[in-house]
């Protein structure tokens, strides 16, 4: 079993909290894990990604080879397209449809969505709206993780366990909101895949 995930977004959008939750879920299953992040200058409002690799065998490279990723999990629609050369043929693009516009020449959203829909395996989800429905816009990242969760060879319960550990210090309410977010994301994918 091996799952290679490219996490994508814009510096400050918090993709590392998704990475941390996946990491916890992987540890819960005694899996090997490598996760490369971007720190430093490029973090400031620039395009950022994290290469996350999970396997039941030792992992060689910290970087995912091109054409090898199982999932691109992006919290921003244009960013989901930036890493397409890394995706394998049957790989899934799972992306938020809410754009983060901090450049003057940001393309038309419809054109971006059209590009995403060219991939046979895609999930385009308005995670911000779904998260807002139960009053927690900040958990849109966890909605995204939930939407990608069916494509992992990790049980859904392990992700729930990961959330309990990551948010343990923030109290039961925050944990529940995030588990709700995780489920909402998964439900969306189950209905739309």
């Amino acid at each position: 079993m091996k799952t290679d995930i490219i996490l994508a977004g814009v510096g400050g959008q918090g993709i590392l909290s998704i990475a941390a939750t996946i990491g916890m879920a992987a540890l819960h299953n005694d899996l090997f894990l490598k996760q490369a992040e971007v720190h430093g200058m490029s973090q400031r409002g620039g395009a950022v990604q994290s290469n996350m690799r999970i396997s039941d065998k030792p992992i060689a490279s910290d970087l995912i080879p091109m054409g090898a990723a199982d999932i691109i999990l992006s919290v921003e629609p244009m960013e989901s397209l930036r890493y397409l050369p890394f995706l394998k043929k049957e790989g899934w693009v799972v992306t938020n449809t809410t754009p983060f516009i901090n450049i003057p020449n940001y393309p038309e959203l419809e054109e971006i969505i059209a590009e995403i829909k060219k991939r046979k395996n895609h999930i385009a989800i308005d995670a911000d709206s779904i998260a807002a429905e139960f009053g927690s816009k900040r958990s849109s990242n966890i909605v995204m993780l939930g939407a990608a969760s069916p494509f992992f060879e990790i049980s859904f319960e392990s992700f729930e366990e990961g959330i309990r550990k990551i948010f343990a210090r923030k109290g039961e309410d925050i944990i529940n909101v995030n588990i709700q977010a995780l489920r909402a994301g998964r439900d969306f994918t189950e209905k739309n895949r």
């Binding site: 720190h39 910290d62 995912i64």
Partner: protein, 538 residues
Amino acid sequence: MQKLLLLGDEAIAQGALDGGISGIYAYPGTPSTEITEYVQASRFAKENNIHSAWSANEKTAMEAGLGMSYAGKRAMVCMKHVGLNVAADAFINSSITGVNGGLIVVSADDPSMHSSQNEQDSRFYGNFAMIPMLEPANQQEAYDMAYHGYELSEKFKLPVLLRITTRLAHSRAGVQTLEQKPQNKNSFPSDLRQFVLLPSIARRNYKTLLSNQGAIEIASEESRFNKYIDGSDKSLGIITTGIAYNYLMENFQDQKLNHPVLKIGQYPIPRKQVMKMVNECDKILVLEEGYPIVEEMLKGYQEAGTPVTGRLDGTLPRDGELNPNLVAKALGIETVLDGTIPELVKNRPPSMCTGCGHIDAYTALAEALAQYGEGRVFSDIGCYTLGALPPYNAINSCVDMGASITMAKGAADAGLIPSVAVIGDSTFTHSGITGLIDCVSENSPVTIIISDNFTTGMTGGQDSKALGRIEDICKGVGVDPDHIKVFRPTKKNMDEMVQIMKDELAFNGVSVIIPRRQCVQTMKNKELAEQLVKLNLK
């Protein structure tokens, strides 16, 4: 003994803590920053009085580490690759003094320049200093090398250079820890003149260093960090250093690798194993992250005349970091791609944060400078370097820490008046003060803007060593107090800022302008908030 999920940087810090260090010395710099931050956050370090405060720059860090070693204790010194340039005087001479307590110098290289102005390879410095060098392939080795590196350092009485690159520094994996070692007791060097580099003593020490080279090489040949993995297909032998080994093995997850592989993690390169490969194989491919150092050495190393390929003959790119696909291509393995980046995807470069004080300072400066025309702003290393990008297009140089002030001076000497320097508070403390002394001593017509945000912003908000003392430092080195101007950079204050800048640009002497407002990224930092209140800065 437990298993931890650690960044490569954190693994080094944990290895050093478990290896019995008494102190870590560093100046922040991507990708090395998290090593020191890990020690600063460690409860164990606090309870055991392990030094971890930031140093003013890499040179002071290196010297303090050497001082701790003199006193018999184990120390770690950390920096990014260009920091080693700053520390080079102390670093190179530390191989002539030798050490007493174990000393590991960590230099984190940044091939592909993710957050740097060049991609220099620190292994040149290791060779230059003629000291043992370690280069981990993964987080576990990073831990093990920091942990065992102290034994190596104390065995040869030499500092050890631990070299990593960005991908390992900022990638996380499981790490098995080892037994916690106690700190060394204080002790003097057995020869109290060991560290006195008078020519007569330095000549003797240098001969000792030279005579130790054979033993250091044997240590490499016997090191568990150098592995010869034999293979039946001798048409090609492959040498990897550091994380390049991972990229090689990534291509052989589903198929067997039949070529002999020499995995190098300790330098000098192990002659015995290298010669075995040279003599047995028809051709050698060198995979190394950084400059083609091993490749170049091999070309002049062996008499067998075995062809060597790698970065120099175009088998691999001459610049940039390696990855599994580049290595696959070098081995003739085809990569099948399914997708390309659609044309509509636009670049999203890093930018200054919304609400950043640097932005207001640049806006005012642009207006104040309008009458003189463009091309007069010498800047420095920090977030404000992003002022080079549109829409600001505000600066004309960024070279090395502190270069803004001295380049502005040189340009003024050449007749470019007014010349402007833009430097941050932390960079000013790092390497700007000495340049300011040059300006003052010649009363150079320069306007120096110290954009003070109370922190080392670019690397994530570390301490600024001259917090609350910038004006005093400027006065102390002789800047006329009438030409030290402080204000709060905001849109509301724009007219006042522009007027002050215009006045000082017109002044025929040294001016220091200090736009001062807290970095928006540090607003949640309670410790800093308390300090600012105490210093009456808030």
